[in-house]
């Protein structure tokens, strides 16, 4: 069985949701507290949404110093699959595991609403089972979700096919409609939308399944 570690920082709040989504797909999930120095024997790591350490100073700015982040960084360097959702994406950019940064939404308000995502690349661990061009309805839930980076970083993202997902109708002012990016190798991915909130038509959409199936499938070949 695929084993996924879900990291819990004080102030995280989507850890149970991420674990439930992973378990719904037949994988097992273990909550790993931020003070841990090892992730244990796992196949993948999710940094969930929330407000790690209260988001004080800046989202993700303090979480990168949590003891567990050394283990996450080491796991990523060994090619392990790492997924940052929302606040987890912010933590990964602050920790330098993903390029760019997330700044406040264009309208300077928090936004909780459905968005339509377009799959841009299937090289990443999050999209390997999806199809380029597929449209997925997945909600966002953030105040600081506008992706930003300098021109050189942007050129490099494009050159290395690191833009994973775009918004069809940009809700927050992200550069080039970017909703998610990966590292060059594709094993570390971050996105602002919440695929774990789009796992069931009872709750409005099941389009997040293909993303998390890709992630927990991990080694599974692309369709």
């Amino acid at each position: 069985m695929t084993r996924i570690a879900v990291v819990v920082f004080p102030g995280s709040n989507c850890e149970y949701d991420a674990a439930a989504a992973v378990e719904q797909l037949g994988a097992s999930a273990e909550l790993v507290f931020h003070s841990a120095t090892s992730l244990g024997d796992v196949d993948g790591v999710i940094l969930p949404g929330g407000f790690a350490h209260g988001d004080y100073l800046r989202p993700g700015a303090l979480a990168r110093f949590s003891p567990v982040m050394a283990a996450v960084t080491d796991f990523a360097a060994r090619g392990g699959a790492v997924l940052g959702i929302c606040n987890g994406f912010q933590v990964l950019t602050e920790a330098g595991l993903l390029p760019g940064a997330l700044q406040k939404n264009r309208g300077l308000t928090f936004l909780c609403q459905p968005t339509t995502l377009v799959v841009v690349s299937t090289r990443s661990v999050l999209t390997r089972a999806a199809s380029v061009g597929a449209e997925l309805v997945v909600p966002i839930n953030h105040f600081s979700g506008a992706y930003t980076c300098d021109d050189a970083t942007y050129d490099s993202l494009v050159a290395h096919d690191q833009i994973v997902l775009r918004y069809r109708d940009n809700p927050n002012g992200s550069r080039d409609d970017i909703a998610g990016v990966s590292n060059v190798a594709g094993n570390v991915v971050g996105l602002m939308p919440h695929p774990e909130r789009a796992m069931s038509t009872l709750l409005g959409s099941a389009d997040g399944r293909v993303l998390l199936e890709s992630f927990v499938g991990l080694g599974v070949a692309a369709r």
Binding site: N13, D17, F51, H53, G54, F110, L202
Partner: protein, 733 residues
């Protein structure tokens, strides 16, 4: 009571504990008339939250409160700490908070200060609620001149717990420790319950003379501290490490210590020097009455204290022994009294010594004078139903459609993967699931309702109709109503007219709850909502909690489909002499008409309709095949607005051939539902079998709404107006 003069500290303790806010001294007499019992009620009024047995071993806790006066002075922190306070009430029962709702009332938006209050309050709820990790699933938004200097910010919270984890705020076991958990204690919020909540505002010119000196009485919130406090407290309860637990809210430490001691019939020694203080040189009365946020008081046995400390260390929250549970004192007459002693060091000087129950339970009980307003007959006589010119009904309709999405987009409404129907619909519907709960296929539904326009005309009937409106909202998501909570927002109780309104309103609520078989399991009273001597309109807010037995599919929404038949379910005409009363309607208010007589309240006309609609929608939720494709309750703005909202959401029009004139378009009285069905014959058959009145309205199709030859309006115009009106009024577009 003391048989001596109290010293200044003791006097200060009585001052806050006997404040209107803490003691309900003006309202207690009346609240006793509300029914509060039902077999499924596990905890009724008087605890942190009411709790019902929702089945499958799960209890649902619900509580509503006001944070009106702090929000008038400092909207962001006022609203934020309102959320924080109500969450502590819920998790102090052992329940994990699962949802928050926010009924909000502001003055008209042509005033810049009111726009500032709206933006501040909404961002305060968003900033605190999102980050503390509890979804905000709905609320209400009402604008009226009477709230201009005194906005109302009510907040309702729902939590769930395994019924065997139910915790109560009781101190027992002599020798046990009273442990203060969470934040340090500062000078913020001193006298919040008395200076702020139990007095009106002075100025008669709104913004200019609002009393800025009250700002230090507003507390400051830290959602990150609260989030860790929630996790730590629920872990302590799961590990059975605490004997009793209570939140620190209004009146701070003195309230928590005297109430837990009084309930346990024990005494308590409190050492003010053991309380971690944020500032140097705090006087004992400041330590005891500070309303610093994010604090809880747990009663712990000495042997468990180390384990408690370990849990708190993990979650990085403070845990300090500030009190000892002691034997009650034997009085000269042989009776025993639990004394609350405030000391400087556990073995040090006694600074105050009073019977705990005298603080908690012995506040004076006022039967304040009541009188029916002298102008009421004149107000009733000025009825727009009979003499207001029709004008342009299409323009009126466009003026009444508002989509509050700008507000609720700012709230996380989806956390915990429970939200089946979120904000913006008749009621919110959530799966009954959460970390640590037994598995269940059930759902719970919540709605908040109020109608100050109705209650200004007739607080008794207006309140009864408001309760019915709440039950109707739950029916739209297939939920059977199980319990009521209320937040009674009224003016100055020293005005006899206000006390009459309060008393009438309580009677109306009792009548409706009796008629609809609903227990009232909690409430809050907010008085002194006035400024410059003008009282607000009576604003009882009713929270309804309902249960859906099987929730495997979402209920129908507002969006009907091409070819559907649209029907009106329920009595077409109102109870009483006037079939379509316009008094108290949004339409009349827009015309500046504030008089007239309301529809009557007759529970016997409502019950079978409510049961029928609930059953139809519950069947859809349970996954049974049904022909019902859309449902919406007829409420604010009447039938015209209900149809316009459904048309706007689905992008498809409807043509209604016959309507009984303007009155039927805009009259407001609960008990009517618009449903769409793909099989009109089958649907009508079921309604007739159930003995429920049903009227064919028309067929879905086209891109316009045509209502009885009175209104023809393009759906594109309705949609544009709905989407823009709030942001336009806030001057954000």
């Amino acid at each position: 009571m003391l048989s001596r003069e109290p010293n200044p500290l003791e006097l200060a303790l009585y001052g806050v504990m006997w404040s209107e806010h803490c003691s309900y001294k003006s309202s207690r007499l009346h609240l006793r008339r509300l029914p509060s019992k039902a077999p499924h009620v596990l905890v009724g009024p008087g605890e942190g939250a009411g709790v019902i047995d929702a089945g499958d071993g799960i209890g649902v806790a619900i509580r509503i409160e006001s944070h009106n006066h702090p929000s008038a002075i400092e909207p962001y922190q006022g609203a934020a700490t309102g959320v924080g306070g109500i969450l502590r009430d819920v998790f102090s029962m052992g329940a994990r908070p699962l949802a928050v709702m926010d009924p909000l009332f502001f003055g008209e938006l042509d005033d810049a200060r009111n726009r500032w209050l709206v933006e501040g309050v909404v961002s305060g709820i968003s900033g605190y609620g999102n980050s503390v990790g509890v979804p905000t699933i709905g609320g209400e938004l009402t604008f009226d001149q009477c709230y201009s200097a005194n906005p109302l910010v009510n907040v309702l919270a729902v939590g769930a717990l395994p019924t065997n984890r139910l915790a109560l705020a009781v101190a027992s076991g002599v020798g046990n420790f009273a442990v203060l958990l969470g934040s340090s204690t500062g000078r913020d919020g001193i006298g919040g319950v008395s200076v702020l909540a139990s007095a009106g505002f002075a100025g008669d010119d709104g913004a200019a003379s609002l009393d800025d000196a009250k700002r230090p009485s507003v507390q400051v919130g830290d959602p990150y501290e609260e989030k860790r406090l929630i996790e730590a407290c629920l872990e302590l309860l799961d590990l059975e490490l605490v004997v009793g637990i209570q939140d620190l809210g209004g009146a701070g430490l003195i309230c928590a210590t005297c109430e837990t001691a009084a309930k346990g019939g024990v005494g308590m020694d409190v050492d003010v020097t053991a309380v971690p203080q944020r500032e140097v040189g705090m006087a004992p009365f400041e330590v005891m009455t500070s309303e610093s946020q994010e604090r809880m008081l747990a009663i712990v046995t000495p042997e468990n204290f180390d384990a408690v400390k370990a849990v708190c260390d993990k979650w990085e929250i403070r845990a300090n022994v500030v009190g000892h549970v002691v034997e009650p004192t034997t009085m000269p007459d042989g009776s025993t009294v639990g004394m609350l002693r405030v000391r400087h060091g556990f073995d040090g000087e006694v600074l105050a010594e009073v019977p705990a129950s005298s603080l908690a339970d012995d506040a004076p009980l006022y039967d304040r004078p009541r009188s029916r307003p002298a102008d009421l007959d004149a107000v009733w006589a000025d009825d727009p139903t009979f003499d207001e010119p029709a004008g342009d009904p299409a323009a009126d309709l466009l003026g009444l459609v508002v989509d509050p999405a700008w507000v609720y987009r700012q709230y996380d409404s989806q956390l915990f993967l429970n939200t089946v129907v979120g904000p913006g619909r008749d009621a919110a519907l959530l799966r009954l699931a959460g970390p640590g709960l037994p598995a269940s296929q059930r759902g719970f539904a919540v709605s908040t309702d109020s109608n100050p326009r109705w209650c200004a005309l007739d607080p008794r009937v207006g309140t009864a109709l408001t309760v019915a409106e709440g039950v109707a909202n739950l029916a739209c998501v297939g939920a059977s109503a199980k319990a009521v909570v209320n937040c009674l927002n009224f003016g100055n109780p020293e005005h006899p007219e206000v006390m009459w309104q309060l008393s009438e309103s309580v009677d109306g609520m009792a009548e409706a709850c009796d008629g609809l078989s609903l227990p009232v399991i909690g409430g809050n009273v907010s008085l002194y909502n006035e400024s410059g001597g003008r009282d607000i309109d009576p604003t009882p807010v009713v929270g309804l909690l309902g249960v859906v037995e099987s929730l495997v599919a979402p209920p129908p929404g507002w969006d009907w489909r091409e070819g559907d038949t649209v029907v009106l379910v329920g009595h077409r005409e109102a109870a009483g002499e006037t079939p379509f009363p316009l008094a108290g309607s949004r339409w009349a208010t827009r015309r500046g008409r504030r008089g007239g007589r309301l529809a009557g309240f007759d529970a016997s006309r409502l019950v079978s309709t409510f049961d029928f609609v609930t059953g139809e929608i519950a069947a859809v939720c349970a996954g049974e095949p049904r022909d019902v494709t859309a449902v919406h309750d007829v409420s604010g703005g009447g039938l015209a607005v209900a149809l316009a909202e459904m048309a706007a959401v689905s992008g498809l029009g409807v043509t209604v051939a016959r309507l009984a004139g303007l009155g039927e378009l805009f009259a407001e009285f609960p008990g009517r539902f618009v449903l769409a069905t793909s099989d009109a014959e089958a649907f009508m058959g079921r309604a007739v079998n159930a003995g429920v009145p049903v009227t064919m309205l028309g067929a879905v199709g086209g891109d316009s709404l045509h209502l009885g030859g009175l209104v023809s309006v393009a759906i594109a115009d309705i949609s544009r107006q709905r989407a823009r009106s709030l942001e336009e009024a806030l001057e954000l577009l």
